[in-house]
């Protein structure tokens, strides 16, 4: 009971902080919605408002260059009272989504999958944080709070991904696959999480009398994802009346026609890219992004949850329109691996780099766009630093987990210096 009371207090406090920010600073939601670090062309709340306005006035929002988000968001938000007149309903929806994400995170943490999976148990498993602490780290992360106040639609993707993982650790593979399809439907890139998620479901499924083979299990799940994706897309085409939303939502992510600045690496690269090489490099960037999936899934077969965590970190750096919302999802999953933190080597360097970029990014953006005393290179440089800091953090976490695995294989190596050959 006391745990439940603690959770209730935590959720209450998290909701209270957000409500306080929404109400006591009425200009804050608009300010954060306009920030390029939070809102990207594919998640912006202002663009959602525009899409909603066009949808409600019988103009196809996909026959235009502003709205690039999933069609099902339109009827969902049309059900809510208009955010211009009654913003409270929108605020409550976003707070609720954050709390739902936290619940999923608590489920993942409580399963103990992070320290002891079916095929692997960490020797440091006693050293983990409680699910309460992990949820608190997510809910009170300034990135999460800023995202919630800025109201991008990426919070729905975050929530869907966390629920997919939480259902997977509960062994509920069909629900997990549906949640994954929903996340992929909203922002496309989560489809790359399918291989590790299917393995996680396979490892965590309830013991059966006649255990299925892994391949048939994965194929069954792939069919489930395909089926639910198809039904979501078909529903969308019924809502919008045509299939033209496909090119306007997923096509934009693939081809990057909108070069609005964001914290990622793509926008400036494709502004400066020579026209004849644009398509080639779009291909290279997408292949680079998906190349991590196979490598990590095979090498870390024993810890599929860590593969998911690491992939979320990599997506937060290398996806076409990243925002701090993706970083906050990675930072939500990372505390599950509290037990390997002592094995990490560059925590100070990585965290100070990220902090440095967080503080200087908005300043440099201001210098470029408003003050006119800096140019585009200022903001570009800070996105490079940000990406470098995050990639240092992900690869360091990978190192720590591999080191942890090594100590199970060879317990005598504990505390010794190691080399790679």
């Amino acid at each position: 009971m006391s745990i439940d009371r603690r959770k209730a207090t935590l959720f209450g406090a998290a909701a209270a902080v957000r409500i306080l920010l929404f109400t006591s600073f009425p200009g804050l939601p608009e300010l954060l919605t306009a920030r390029v670090e939070i809102s990207t062309p594919v998640t912006s709340f202002k663009r959602l408002q525009e899409g909603l306005f066009l949808y409600n006035h019988n103009v196809s929002p996909y026959d235009g260059g502003v709205y690039h988000q999933a069609p099902l968001l339109l009827p969902l938000f049309s059900l809510l009272p208009s955010s211009a007149t009654y913003p409270a309903f929108t605020y409550l929806l976003y707070i609720l989504v954050d709390l739902l994400s936290a619940i999923a995170l608590i489920n993942i943490a409580e399963s103990g999958e992070a320290v002891s999976s079916k095929l692997f148990t960490s020797p440091r498993k006693g050293k983990r944080w409680s699910s309460f602490a992990i949820a608190a780290a997510f809910l009170f992360n300034p990135f999460t709070i800023a995202t919630c106040i800025g109201r991008p639609t990426s919070v729905f993707t975050t929530c869907a991904i966390l629920h997919a993982i939480s259902k997977a650790v509960q062994g509920n593979s069909f629900t997990a696959m549906f949640a994954l399809s929903f996340a992929a439907y909203l922002s496309m890139y989560p489809i790359l999480l399918f291989p590790p998620l299917a393995l996680l479901c396979y490892d965590r499924r309830k013991p059966l009398k006649n255990p299925e083979l892994m391949y048939s299990f994965v194929i069954g799940n792939a069919v489930a994802v395909g089926g639910s994706l198809y039904s979501l897309l078909h529903m969308s085409s019924l809502i919008t009346g045509s299939w033209e939303f496909l090119s306007s939502t997923y096509g934009v992510q693939l081809l990057l026609p909108d070069l609005t600045p964001n914290v990622g690496l793509w926008w400036y690269f494709f502004i400066e890219m020579f026209d004849s090489f644009r398509n080639f490099f779009l291909g290279v960037f997408w292949i680079h992004l998906s190349s991590y999936v196979a490598g990590l899934t095979i090498r870390l077969r024993r810890q599929p949850l860590f593969v998911l965590t690491l992939l979320l970190g990599i997506f937060a750096i290398f996806k076409p329109y990243p925002s701090i919302s993706d970083t906050s999802l990675f930072l939500a999953m990372l505390p599950l691996y509290r037990h390997v933190f002592p094995l990490m080597r560059y925590t100070f360097l990585a965290s100070s780099t990220i902090l440095y970029a967080t503080l200087l990014g908005p300043a440099f953006y201001y210098l470029w766009i408003y003050a006119g005393s800096g140019n585009a290179n200022f903001f570009y440089a800070i996105t490079l630093v940000w990406s470098l800091g995050l990639s240092l953090l992900t690869s360091d976490a990978l190192f720590a987990v591999l080191r942890d695995e090594l100590e199970v294989e060879r317990p005598e190596m504990k505390g010794k210096e190691i080399r790679q050959i």
């Binding site: 502003v66 909108d258 680079h288 990639s391 990978l398 090594l406």
Partner: protein, 583 residues
Amino acid sequence: MRQFHSLLLFLSLFTLSVATSDYHEQLLLTPLHPSLLLASFNFQSNTTVNSFEQQNFRNFPRSLGQILQHANTRELHLRFSLGRWDAESWGARPWGGAREGGTGVELWAWVEAETDEEADGRWLTLTNALSGLFCASLNFIDSTRTTRPVMSFQPSGDHKNSSWDNLHLLHGTLPREVVCTENLTPFLKLLPCKGKAGISSLLDGHKLFDASWQSMSIDVRPVCSAGSNDCQLQITQTIDMVLDIQRSKRPRDNPIPRPVPNEELRCDASKPYHSEDTCFPLDTAAQEEGWTLSQIFGHPLKGACPLATDGIDPVCINVPHARQVFASEGSHEHLDPNGFMRCFQLDPEKELEMILPQQEITEKAPLEQPLLYAERSFIGYGQERGGVQAILTNPSPTKAVDFVYMESLPWFMKLYLHTLKAKINGLDTHKDVIQEMYYRPALDRKRGTQLEVRILIPANSTVVLTYDFEKAILRYTEYPPDANRGFDVAPAVITIGNVSIRTTSLLLPLPTPDFSMPYNVIILTSTVMALSFGFVFNLLVRRFVAVDEADQWDVRAVRLKIAALIKAKLKRFRNAEKAEKRE
């Protein structure tokens, strides 16, 4: 300017009755306050549709006629404009704004075609051909600059009902185009007298493009007399310009303005601070500037155009009868009995010079009040987002005004329609003001935004229309060479029945990348990606061993081991050989 309209009405009646007369031309001069002169040149010629189709051109320009036939264009309107019409002090626009375009070049036409695609193809042919004919960048009117207005433009010609369904209206603007002498020369070549005689001899690039405001227009439309199949094709060319009289009077070899000498200053002595060294300029509203035709246009008018045989007086001036006007010998003055107009009939052989001396006169030709005052500007700051504000004022104390406001915006100005608000006299009562709306959103790199709003403004009210937009950042090859100058946004077109008003164009600054470093960006971004890829895959593909074990697995150690192994084998082999020999 009411006289102006009565004159127009008279002219149009006249053209209907004397349909056989093919060509007429007229110049109307109207002094404007303060010390400005509006000169409106009008040239009109007709040809029957039959002779046009048989390529039998007389006064109709052949070059333009063949382009129209080739592009299946039934009605054409082309405008070249510069400057801003100051409605507050100059009143309503000449021709009710119907012969005027937005800053730069504006073109709209009704093209006959079966499908939209065919219409687009013919529009492309038309713009490219006109581009060559008028030395203008009309070929840059591509799909992003073309709109198909729904409510704003109506055909001014008479079209057969049978062909009406196949007519496509296309409209394009080039707000950046600088109108210049190279556009005037082909314009004059279309005239029957080619600028050699008649009123067109006054047109000179130095004076025309020095004007405070100028607009050149070409309209081609079919005109059918009611109830008969007898149709004519009419081409109307006009040039309107507002010239600064004082500026025109400066000698050409010494054009720098100099301060008036102290003793020539006319001061208001009634001011308390008036003294030797303090002067408040005297109100010169009653003082009419003196000028002559050759001062204003550089030379006198070179006789009448012999092809204009309809008997209409070619030069008119809109001044009170009390104003002294001296015309040179050979011309006949006709005073309009009920107004301020006087016209001159010319001798075809003799030059016309007109002299208006400086005169103290309180009577003024009345200015016609415009139906609507419109101005549009950007609001907001920074290169990320902004807003547009259009202030529309209905000056009439009694009548409401109902009009269509049309914007065609470039695609990189991402309009948020949900932020469109209309405030009337500072209050939000949006629903009564905006009556109807047509919106076609922009598609990146394919087409621009088209917004048409029907607005009703009650008497004596001001409506402020605002909306937000976001400035897109472009690929570096899509910026013009002077990227930091900004991008021109076409004027809004306001249509009130037959009257049209255009706002000024706007200059939109966009965020710019650093153009000097594509290689650096490619290299730096690739480095970060390679680092991250290296970090991860280095960990994935290599094995961990302890430092002290590492030596055993060193490449050198492996090499030594292999060498030792080979040596041992060789030794054994030699030993075996020795043993064989021994045997």
